[in-house]
């Protein structure tokens, strides 16, 4: 499978990373190198093999559905690039 420039642009868009038009050919080439390497996986017979979901046999533990933390508005907003009136501020989303 070969990735062309428009696919590279689409992937960049999906990843929400701005890639300039003139950088797309080199990016597509690198994707192709990496995907070419990954293609080796097609040699493996995986019929009837379960995809791994957990590397250790332990089940994820459950916990009681209780509030254990909270009321930390100031601490949560402390690292925000733009926080106003107790909220995260972002450019206008809804017209």
């Amino acid at each position: 499978m070969s990735i062309d420039q428009s696919t590279a642009a689409r992937v960049a868009k999906l990843a929400r990373i701005k890639v300039e038009e003139d950088a797309l050919p080199a990016l597509a080439d690198e994707f192709n190198t990496i995907l070419g390497f990954i293609e080796q996986l097609n040699e493996v017979d995986v019929d009837g093999v379960e995809p791994m979901t957990s590397v250790t046999p332990q089940r994820l533990t459950r916990r009681a559905d209780e509030v254990t933390d909270g009321n930390q508005q100031a601490a949560i907003l402390a690292n925000a690039p733009d926080a106003r009136e107790g909220f995260f501020a972002v450019p206008k989303v809804v017209e």
Binding site: R16, F37, L41, E50, P51, M52, P91, V93
Partner: protein, 496 residues
Amino acid sequence: MMADLNKLGLAEARDALKRGDVTSVELTETCLERIEGAAALNAFVHKTPEIALDRARAADERLKAGDAPAMCGLPIGIKDLFCTKGVPGQAGSRILQGFLPGYESTVTQNLADAGAVMLGKLNMDEFAMGSSNETSVYGNAVNPWRRKGDDAQLTPGGSSGGSAAAVAADLCLAATGTDTGGSIRQPAAFTGTVGVKPTYGRCSRWGIVAFACSLDQAGPMTKSVRDGAIMLGAMAGHDPKDSTSADLAVPDFEAMLTGDIKGKTIGIPREYRMDGMPAEIEKLWSDGADMLRDAGAKIVDISLPHTKYALPAYYVIAPAEASSNLARYDGVRYGHRAKLAQGDGITEMYEKTRAEGFGYEVQRRVMVGTYVLSAGFYDAYYNRARKVRTLIKRDFENVFADGVDAILTPATPSAAFGLGEMKDADPVQMYLNDVFTVTVNLAGLPGVTVPAGLDEQGLPLGLQLIGQPWEEGDLLNTAFALERAAGFVAKPEKWW
């Protein structure tokens, strides 16, 4: 007062503290002074002398009171990936510039509770993605080792390059690292130090900036196997805040270091004999097997047939998880936000923020991960890789079921290479650094690298031992026997 207190290991320093030969303040001040004098290595990127001295004074009080826990008063460095309350932590990335964690990672809290003294944060590849510490926003960390008669700067390896450089250069007694595909073990091998990657679930991942959650594990980077055992014991333990943390008792790893490996079976996997492997590495490997045989172990040839597919599976799974984990860096909650142009909306904010904040290797891996998870490719790439991962783990289960206690392999395909030397290589060439280590992460196993010799150019080379799940104690004992037999004592000559 001894002049070179910084050169002590954890065990020696602990014993000296207990005897009252030194104080933690003296140890800590010596390390802080050496850190100041080692700017050329670019290992420590955020220094915390006030925290260090506060903890050292508190440790001296506890020592005086006869109430000294396992790491009481021992000065260590912390990889920048660990969140430590009120201390800048940016995972080597521009996108987390200015981030001040409001909480403490479980591992660093465990270390603090054990009395350890934090000297500062250590350089690393951005988001732990790299094998040479060349993707860091802080610039390259530099290996204290140099080739004989050559002053070219070498990589300390990656991603825990700052940790490895700091321990090898005696700027601290030990350091934390994290290992997703080899990021503790490869830099340890490149710097003549010991690196332990525990069983997946042994150390809590809570408060460690996530790269690939199903693979990431924290571990110690130390000057000896004994120190690794001491520090792993202090880092490990069940944590309800990490749902993959194992609810198992942490044994006294140090007490298990008897050096007696009589009757143990050590496997030599034939698939790790790569085409074009340097003769020096091949010799080191067979010498290592001889040492373990001489110590009473039985050496057997084994097969791990899916080894070849570990790296390609890793380079699907790790970027896929990274693309999901790194989605949180959106310029809203923390870190960098791009300056916006007139009329830019929220999508432009995301796209510009992430283009400015992420370095090139991180962008590339996030996009590869996005691609392999995208509609139409999820089965072909991601699900196939997870099935191959099942087979890789099964390979190990089969040899362990046949009675193999541990597996001996080289740690890396070469000694440390020059900074900038891989600049023009394609990304896959750099990924090959992890060829011997990545299987261990995919299978969730414990692994340890031990320095075992020097190459022709005078650079350290390491061997790796892989153990059964949760058997770090037995694994470290085998590593201890190998360390004693190898008798590696070389240190880099000070030039910085």
